[in-house]
């Protein structure tokens, strides 16, 4: 479904991504791991068009999307959440998700119809599926940290994506919240047949959840394989699991 081919990106001489490779099949849950600064977030930014790659291709459903601006990548069916909570903090929780739904329905430019009657059902369905319906009328800025992260995911779902990219969805969460969030992600993958690509620091979470794991180190892809194979791989142990103790 998604194929990243030999992607390169550097900033002012600093090479952030150099030769990343990634394959995501329809319906899969794929994790990207790697030490801090390995280029995971940059890779996600490149896939979603927030950054332009120096070289390489991003192919989604047979189409090269590496030159498209973010809003067009989104319209192809790729939706993402961000590592730092990236929400509309002065709007209500309901509107946060509604904005995405309206955009997906192509109604963002409508000037004359009252918005509060539009996309209500879809928005509420999403809020219900992530468990934020109770807080629909709260200002997004007043939510707890954990709820911010959930709202992130809810906004990304608002686009009815075919593929969801989650950048450290459980960053800063307590163990309980982490477990609940991962359960939510698995549930979404199963119930809606979503393809999910995510990166994560917590190795237990990754090896319990992902069906395929891609390991990045200094911007390069070391391996992409099933969890058992990744665990057994010598290079990975040297570069990452054994070495820097992040796991």
């Amino acid at each position: 479904m998604l194929k990243v081919e030999r992607l390169y990106k550097s900033f002012d001489g600093f090479v952030a991504v150099s030769g990343a490779e990634l394959t995501v099949e329809q319906g899969q849950l794929v994790a990207v791991i790697g030490p801090n600064g390995a280029g995971k977030t940059t890779l996600f930014n490149l896939i979603t068009g927030m950054l332009k790659a120096d070289r390489g291709r991003v192919v989604f459903n047979g189409e090269d999307i590496s030159k498209l601006p973010p809003h067009e990548v989104c319209r192809k069916g790729i939706s993402r959440s961000f590592q730092i909570a990236n929400i509309f903090h002065r709007l209500t929780v309901f509107k946060n998700v509604q904005v995405a739904v309206l955009s997906q329905q192509g109604k963002s430019g409508n000037l004359f119809r009252p918005a509060h009657r539009m996309a209500v059902h879809e928005t509420n369905t999403i809020l219900e599926s992530v468990g934020l319906l109770e807080k629909a009328d709260d200002l997004a800025g007043s939510l707890s940290h954990g709820d911010h992260r959930i709202l992130e995911i809810a906004i990304a779902l608002g686009n009815q994506p075919r593929m969801l990219i989650l950048d450290e969805p459980t960053a800063g969460m307590s163990p309980d919240e982490t477990a609940a969030t991962m359960a939510l992600i698995r549930r979404l993958a199963e119930s809606q047949g979503l393809t999910i690509l995510f990166c994560e620091h917590d190795m237990d979470v990754v090896f319990n959840t992902a069906q395929s794991i891609m390991v990045m180190h200094y911007g390069k892809t070391i391996i992409q394989a099933k969890p058992e194979e990744v665990r057994a791989n010598k290079d990975v142990q040297d570069a990452y699991l054994g070495g820097e103790g992040d796991a």
Partner: protein, 325 residues
């Protein structure tokens, strides 16, 4: 239950105010009628600015230019052409909007302060032309004695004319504010990067917002001419731009009607403080500093927060209004 756009609870105080405003000219002296009309024009201008600043998060630092363009277009068309008044009246705001499109088209490529700077320089360009093209605009002297039709040339005639179009514009703005476009603009204000990640073409939205806002600024400019029968280059000077910025701040950026209040307070202050002292900008400056320190959300913003907190504490029935699809 769904909240209706025209909720009776919201509607009746506005209706009351409107009825009051319709009857006021019969009982108050002509000077006060005039001041009220000035407030209407300024309020419309401030509201139009707030569409892009408070609700759109754009650094629209030279909004007065579009007000001036609307005013000059209207005055020049009335004085130099034989077009009927209604044609001039309709065309002028579109000229302001065209200027808005032109300047906005360049500006939306840049962000924040650079946006502001490019707009100031492009705006100053227009100001410099109005200031220097003596043959057309009479430069610093401005144009006086613009031939306004008799039926609206009296103070009370102008008052009702302006009030009518103010109400019309406010209704249009209210509808836009609550439309998907308005909601999306508010989302862009809070987080443009996130908006493009959910598939919104941010620049196109911002440009559209600028065109709409400058159209309304143009209407305000036209109404100014109807009231004053004259135009001068100060209408497009940057000091006025910052003054209306303050009105928005004073009333409350993130509220709908805040700028009306801000405009009313500022115009009233200028008028009545101006009677006692010539140092009225000193007072404005001090007022602004007090605002920045103690009331950064503006007067209406404060009210709204208080209201929200109270509803929050009571767990009021309004809270779950989106629950049913």
């Amino acid at each position: 239950m769904q909240k209706s756009t025209l909720n009776p609870n919201v509607l009746w105080p506005w209706t009351l105010i409107l009825v009051l405003l319709i009857f006021l000219p019969f009982i108050i002296p002509r000077f006060y009628t005039y001041i009220l009309a000035v407030i209407f024009v300024t309020a419309l201008l401030a509201m139009s600015l707030n569409m892009v600043v408070g609700h759109g998060g754009l650094f629209q630092f030279h909004h007065a230019v579009f007000y001036g363009v609307g005013a000059y277009a209207f005055a020049l068309m009335l004085m130099k052409t034989a077009m009927p008044m209604w044609v001039c009246f309709t065309v002028s705001p579109f000229i302001a909007a065209a200027a808005g499109f032109l300047i906005g088209w360049f500006c939306v490529r840049l962000a924040n302060l650079y946006f502001a700077m490019l707009q100031i320089s492009l705006g100053s360009l227009i100001w410099a032309i109005a200031f220097r093209w003596y043959d057309l605009t009479h430069g610093d002297d401005g144009l006086h004695g613009v031939p306004i039709p008799d039926w609206i040339s009296s103070t009370s005639g102008a008052y009702y004319f302006i009030l009518f179009f103010l109400v019309l514009c406010l209704i249009a703005m209210y509808i836009i504010y609550h439309s998907p476009f308005g909601t999306t603009m508010q989302a862009i204000r809070d987080n443009p990067a996130r908006c493009s990640a959910v598939g919104i073409n941010v620049r196109r939205h911002q440009l559209t917002a600028i065109v709409i806002a400058t159209f309304f600024a143009g209407v305000a400019g036209v109404l100014f001419v109807v009231l004053e029968h004259s135009v001068f280059p100060d209408l497009l000077f940057w000091v006025l731009s910052l003054e209306i910025f303050i009105m928005c701040l004073l009333g409350g950026w993130f509220t709908f009607a805040g700028p009306i209040l801000g405009a009313a307070v500022t115009v009233a202050l200028r008028t009545f403080v101006g009677i006692y002292t010539e140092y009225w900008t000193l007072i404005l400056g001090i007022l602004l500093i007090l605002l920045i320190f103690f009331l950064p959300e503006g007067v209406m913003g404060l009210f709204q927060r208080k209201l929200r907190n109270r509803r929050y504490e009571e767990g009021a029935p309004g809270k779950r209004r989106h629950a049913q699809g």
